[in-house]
């Protein structure tokens, strides 16, 4: 139904934001930067997620693109042209609000048709497009209901249909799934991803839920304190975080700190603060430099003391074993007491394999150890 943009546009930049600053005055008379020199390029037809904790500036950025807020400095470009002070109702973007913001006095049909009605689209075309949009989100048959007669999930779909029916150049989604229960949220994630694929509309999605971001996004922009920390593919953000913040925010992380002790062709040797020796295959850090090391829990292989092969390992003592169904979470302490988590997928049928107090070896692959410069915030 909704035409895909031509292939020539698909690789190009849709939205360009250059050095955007948004300053708020604090009651104490100071100034906080909700956006601190943000550069962002949104490509045509991509699913881009702004991910970060509350107060990181992601919603401010979204609202600025929608036109509800102005930057203190910097500008937004659409197709290379500066948007400036174009008001929200003249921007070819539509928003799915966190609270859905459905019009309580209008039926589902008239909610969805609202954008077409104010644009004075002809009656017949309007009705066809509304029907198509409702079919796309699976709400056919509920046209005459009022929003209050719908469940939360259905209201969410109305909000979605109401936005996409206008064929926006960019769809802005402000934590649209946060009010839904876990199961519904997970199925909606897949649905949204499929929908974006079907429609060929660029999605800018704001969330604080890293799992949601990983599931749906083509690219993720991780934000903290008004700055974009990293913008990359989900796998890159997960496996090769740019800094400690990104590493800690996304997924479960074991982060150790230490100093580079030796550097060679096979990689670097790091002496951790707990005096353990750790090998990393990649990493360009110089000798003596302080670094943070990320090892994901699933990269550890738990073995009993005394076992081993030629792979490197860290000695640890089991503190707690948690059975979560598909795997075991082994919480352990290294020699200096720093806590790590390892996933054990092989012995999840026998949680009794490990018991608190037991000494274990955590084997790892040096090529899967990620080294970050300490200074990077």
């Amino acid at each position: 139904m909704l035409d895909r943009p031509s292939t020539a546009l698909e690789t190009g930049e849709l939205i360009g934001i250059k050095s955007a600053v948004k300053a708020f005055a604090t009651p104490e008379g100071g100034r906080v930067l909700a956006l601190d020199h943000v550069d962002l390029s949104i490509r045509n037809n991509e699913f881009l997620t702004l991910l970060g904790p509350s107060g990181c500036g992601k919603t401010t950025l979204l609202r600025s693109i929608a036109g509800f807020e102005d930057f203190t400095e910097g500008a937004i470009q659409l197709d290379g042209r500066v948007l400036g002070d174009v008001p929200p109702h003249k921007r070819p973007f539509n928003t799915v609000f966190q609270s859905y913001a459905l019009f309580p006095h209008l039926t589902v049909e008239n909610n969805v048709g609202y954008g077409l009605d104010v644009a004075r689209v002809q009656r017949q075309e309007r009705n066809e497009r509304v029907a198509q949009a409702l079919a796309l989100v699976g709400l056919t048959g509920l046209e005459k209901r009022k929003p209050r007669q719908l469940s939360g999930g259905q209201q969410q779909r109305v909000a979605l249909a109401r936005a996409i029916v206008n064929r926006p150049r960019l769809l802005l989604l402000d934590e649209p799934l946060s009010a839904l229960d876990r199961q519904l949220r997970q199925s909606m994630q897949i649905e949204l991803k499929n929908l974006q694929h079907t429609l060929g509309i660029t999605f800018l999605y704001v969330t604080h839920d890293q799992e949601e971001a990983l599931v749906m996004s083509d690219r993720i922009a991780v934000m903290n304190k008004g700055r974009i920390q990293q913008i990359d593919l989900p796998s890159a953000v997960y496996h090769r975080p740019a800094n400690r913040f990104v590493a800690a925010f996304i997924g479960v992380s074991n982060i150790l700190t230490g100093r580079v002790a030796a550097s060679g062709a096979a990689g670097v040797t790091i002496e951790t603060d707990g005096k353990d020796s750790l090998l990393a295959a990649a990493g360009s850090a110089g000798i003596g430099e302080r670094v943070s090391i990320l090892i994901r829990p699933e990269r550890f292989e738990v073995q009993s003391e005394g076992s081993g092969d030629n792979r490197p390992w860290l000695a640890a003592r089991v503190e707690q074993v948690v059975f979560v169904g598909s795997e075991l979470h082994v919480h352990a302490a290294l020699s200096d007491g720093s806590k790590v988590v390892a996933l054990d997928r092989r012995s999840h049928a026998n949680p009794g394999n490990w018991s608190p107090g037991q000494g274990v070896r955590l084997f790892y692959d040096p090529s899967l150890v990620h080294v970050m410069a300490e200074g990077a915030a």
Binding site: H89, F103, H105, N166
Partner: protein, 302 residues
């Protein structure tokens, strides 16, 4: 929903005082008025206990009795009263709606101050407040003096003892009753809905017409009703600011009871005013009221 015997008895006990109060002070006097409107006026006041439908004939035509003459002046007074009351509603609405928006955007502590100021006139006696308007509007009053000293007029404007003066006075005393329900409905309006409307491409005017106006309609309907009814029955304002020139139905009724001592005719006029109000209310409920109530329900549940 089933209510247990015990709780329905509790409900009955709790409702007893208000039921008694309404029965004694509302239904009984109303009954007396209905009965009186069909009785014959006594020659020296009071009533003669015989069925006498001709009071209504005096207003509506066809008196069928030599003693009672049909006089179109009563209908003219009624129509003028309706006109003044509707003007009062309209002006109050136009004044209150933007102000209510402005107040709803104020920071909380300013809000409570402004709301207090709006209810402040209630602390002073109604007569004193209406007399103050007499001082403002009379030929040598503040309004004319100010206009004269500003060089805008040579002769004092006739601001007093006409429909305009009465409408000004009624708007002045009734405006808080319009403001509060409108303010309540605007305060309840979800700002996200306005943004959603803009986001979907609606211009500010379209947003107002399609979202803001329908969602604040309960306040508009409610405010209009509670301004219209007292405006229709008011007799203090027209007697002070209208002088002998403007007679509203309230004054007419007062005259019949107190000066003419024709209680049956006064009762008849009261019944006719009430009939007008009831008819208008029914039109409201059937047309505007239905959508208003619908919206009110939604606003409450959302």
């Amino acid at each position: 929903m089933s209510v247990s015997v015990r709780s329905s008895r509790a409900v009955a006990i709790l409702l007893a005082p208000i039921s008694l109060l309404l029965a004694v002070f509302f239904l009984v006097p109303l009954g007396i008025m209905i009965v009186y409107s069909f009785l014959e006026p006594g020659i020296y006041g009071g009533v003669v206990w015989s069925f006498y439908p001709f009071n209504y004939g005096r207003v509506l035509g066809a008196p069928l009795n030599a003693l009672e003459e049909f006089d179109a002046v009563y209908l003219r007074i009624f129509i003028n009263t309706l006109r003044i009351a509707l003007t009062t509603v309209l002006i109050s609405l136009l004044v209150c709606y933007p102000v209510a928006f402005w107040v709803s955007r104020l920071p909380d502590r300013w809000k409570s101050l402004v709301l207090f100021l709006i209810t402040l006139p209630f602390f002073a006696n109604l007569l004193i407040r209406v007399y103050a308007w007499l001082l403002i509007l009379r030929p040598t009053g503040f309004a004319n003096t100010a206009l004269k000293s500003a060089g805008l007029i040579d002769q004092p404007l006739p601001l007093l003892f006409n429909n305009v003066a009465v409408a000004i006075g009624l708007v002045y005393i009734l405006v808080p009753f319009m403001f509060l329900p409108i303010y309540a409905s605007i305060e309840r309006l979800d700002a996200n809905l306005i943004q959603a409307s803009q986001d979907l491409g609606a211009s500010p005017f379209q947003t107002f017409r399609r979202v803001v106006l329908p969602l604040t309609m309960p306040g508009i309907v409610g405010g209009s009703i509670i301004v219209f009814i007292p405006a229709l029955g008011n007799f203090v304002v027209p007697s002070l600011l209208g002088g002998a020139k403007v007679l509203m139905s309230g004054n007419l009724i007062e005259q019949q009871f107190l000066d003419a001592r024709n209680w049956p005719f006064g009762a008849t006029l009261s019944m006719l005013v009430m009939a007008v109000i009831l008819v208008l209310m029914m039109i409201y409920v059937v047309n505007l009221g239905r959508s208003g109530a619908e919206v009110a329900r939604q606003v409450q549940t959302v």
